[in-house]
Amino acid sequence: MALEKIHSVTGRAVYVPGDDIDTDRIIPARFMKCVTFDGLGEYLFYDTRHTPDGEKKDHPLNDPRHAEASILVSGNNFGCGSSREHAPQAIYRAGFRAVVAESFAEIFFGNSIQLGMPCVTADAADIRKLAATVREDPSTRVEIDVKERVVRFGGMEIPCGLRDGARQSLLEGHWDPIQDLLEGAPEVEALAGGLEYMRA
């Protein structure tokens, strides 16, 4: 199954400020009592978007001006904590197709790339510029150019980081590696056969 080649992601962006935004905050554990990922988008950042009584709070994702956003912008160490793929799944299913942050936690980053959702880093000053621009005008068109590793918005262009392997996976449509992994079956067989602990 050929995967889409992801050269860029273009859309509106929304800034969710904060460092160390963990995956419990992205999708609280009680919403993981499910056997599919369907419907998770609804619960994205649930406890920061709602009061304990379920009333909507003042939060960028509750702001109707950002309703069409497809690029999430945040701070340092985004996605830390639990390895739950429910977190990137919730982000994706809420309509986002890319995340820009100062840095990402490792497991979250890998999980996101495997969904074909680019996660690119930018330095704090550039993130502030991007945040200010989209706050001012939520309809700003933001383009994440995976190939050139830059983010363009409102006549500006900022550099962004994306490690080579992930970039290549996105550009060449190998971001979900299952097909490649299956093709390695003969080599896997041979290697496993040589490891005593793996024998049945």
Binding site: R25, K33, V35, H86, N111, Q114, L181, V188
Partner: protein, 475 residues
């Protein structure tokens, strides 16, 4: 030049380079639980792909099991659906399942070692970030997402980039009342919650040489809280001794071959690390968190920071956010903060040695009547031995509830949850906002004995004073 354990294990399990430049890495041992596996089995069904090496996947159920009701159906139908789904998936694919009626169920990171499934020189993956625990045995063990659980089920491999290796030496002698939990909280405080991104942490030095396997597991468990997906200790005689006679450990001639092989994976003395950090054991005191990340920690005799203690605007903002959530003013002592709940358990500190150490000091003390205190053994195996030793009686008499095995109040996917803005003294691993089930709930992480001290006094306290440890050590 010599090689690190990480490099040796990586090389021994590298299948090939993938078109995108990543390594196809063989996963020798795959552990699964009910939360992150059902979607993966679903993806296999959709594509009609079988489980390639069913005998190398081991399952247990931990996150959603209630610890106060054992009979099924559980009162929560969603929890019941999840356990049934796992049962069915394991049966359909021939995967070993340590179900609740086997006497071996428990938290996946306690069951693997206990069964002897976790072995040195192996690669271990599980859809759970605390998989780093298994690194205590000299395995390369890491958490993966559900799509990767699918990859392992389908191919026994995943696509991964190699990590750099940071050696963390802790030398000297820990003072009485200072535990493995304090060591890892101190490391995270020093290196930060993202300091380990891109690294495997290799823990060593005289403190780790002297640690039991269970102490090593406590430290490796929380590597991910410092951003390191992998944390490990080189295998030695302590490792071998622990594994001897365990149900899944090799037997007979196979045992001798395995031991020789296991020990050969230890990092070579002349290997070069990408980074080295040296810590003196004497500088570590009982450590507790005060904020909403595991890196926001202080020694028990220190004060909670104020925003002015942050070096940058974003650090000041993080402190402000944490103080607001915790309802602390900042600048006050952490000691004496009133506690509502005391939770003893989790994959970090729910092992037999944790319970034994607490029971040793708890006898004769009573839990403060304001405090709800629960003790949750990490596995049915831990529970059984603890009960044989009469530890359950000590906990019960002191006023702790003695529960059935599971993740319990570490993460609130079962009935054990904080209510409102309750403050919990917790032996678990995460103090994130909402982690323990109430969006406004508050968590203070600490060692098991510090949890007991908080339970007894009803406030954050120095266990060394509460239990007279300093006097008995002649300090």
């Amino acid at each position: 030049m010599g090689k690190s354990l990480f490099k040796k294990v990586w090389d021994a399990h590298s299948v090939r380079e993938l078109p995108n430049g990543q390594t196809q890495l063989l996963i020798g041992t795959h552990l699964i639980h009910e939360v992150t596996s059902p979607q993966a089995f679903g993806m296999l069904r959709e594509r009609g792909i079988p489980v390639r090496f069913p005998h190398r996947t081991f399952a247990t159920v931990d996150h959603i099991v209630p610890t106060n009701e054992v009979a099924e159906p559980y009162s929560d139908p969603l929890a019941q659906a999840m356990i049934e789904e796992l049962r069915k998936n394991c049966a359909d694919h021939g995967v070993t399942f340590f179900d609740t009626n086997t006497g071996h169920q428990g938290i996946v990171h306690i069951v693997g070692p206990e069964q002897g499934i976790t072995q040195p020189g192996t690669t271990i993956a599980c859809g759970d970030s605390h998989t780093s625990t298994h690194g205590a045995f000299g395995a390369i063990a890491f958490g993966i997402g559900t799509s990767q659980v699918r990859d392992v089920l389908a191919t026994q491999t995943i696509a991964l980039n190699p990590l750099k290796v940071r050696r963390i030496n802790v030398d000297g002698e820990l003072a009485p009342g200072v535990y493995a939990k304090d060591v890892i909280l101190h490391i995270i405080r020093l290196l930060g919650t993202k300091g380990g991104t891109g690294f495997a942490y290799e823990y060593g030095g005289s403190v780790f040489d002297g640690f039991s396997m269970e102490e090593r597991m406590t430290v490796c468990n929380m590597s991910i809280e410092g951003g390191a997906r992998v944390g490990y200790v080189n295998p030695d005689e302590t490792t071998v001794e622990y594994l001897k006679g365990r149900p899944f450990a090799p037997k007979g001639a196979g045992w001798d071959r395995a031991v020789e092989r296991w020990l050969s994976f230890a990092s070579d003395p002349d290997c070069e690390y990408d980074d080295v950090v040296n810590i003196r054991a004497e500088n570590i005191a009982p450590t507790v968190t005060w904020g909403i990340t595991p890196g926001q920690a202080v020694f028990i005799h220190e004060n909670i920071p104020t925003p002015d203690d942050g070096g940058t605007e974003s650090a000041r903002e993080s402190i402000r956010e944490a103080l607001e959530h915790m309802s602390f003013a900042g600048g006050e002592p952490i000691r004496g903060i009133p506690v509502d709940v005391a939770f003893l358990g989790s994959c970090t500190n729910g092992r037999l040695s944790d319970l034994k150490e607490v029971a040793r000091y708890l006898e004769g003390h009573k839990v403060n009547p304001r405090v709800k205190a629960i003790c949750v053994p990490g596995s049915q195996g831990v529970s059984k031995i603890a009960e044989e030793l009469g530890l359950d009686r000590i906990f019960r008499e002191a006023g702790f509830e003695w529960r059935a095995a599971g993740c319990s109040m570490c993460l609130a996917m079962n009935p054990d949850k904080l209510i409102g803005n309750q403050l919990c003294a917790s032996s678990s691993n995460r103090n994130f906002k909402g982690r323990q089930g109430s969006p406004t709930g508050r968590t203070i992480l600490m060692s098991p004995l510090m949890v007991a001290a908080a339970a007894v006094t009803g406030e954050i306290a120095d266990a060394r004073e509460v239990f007279g440890i300093l006097e008995s050590a002649g300090v």
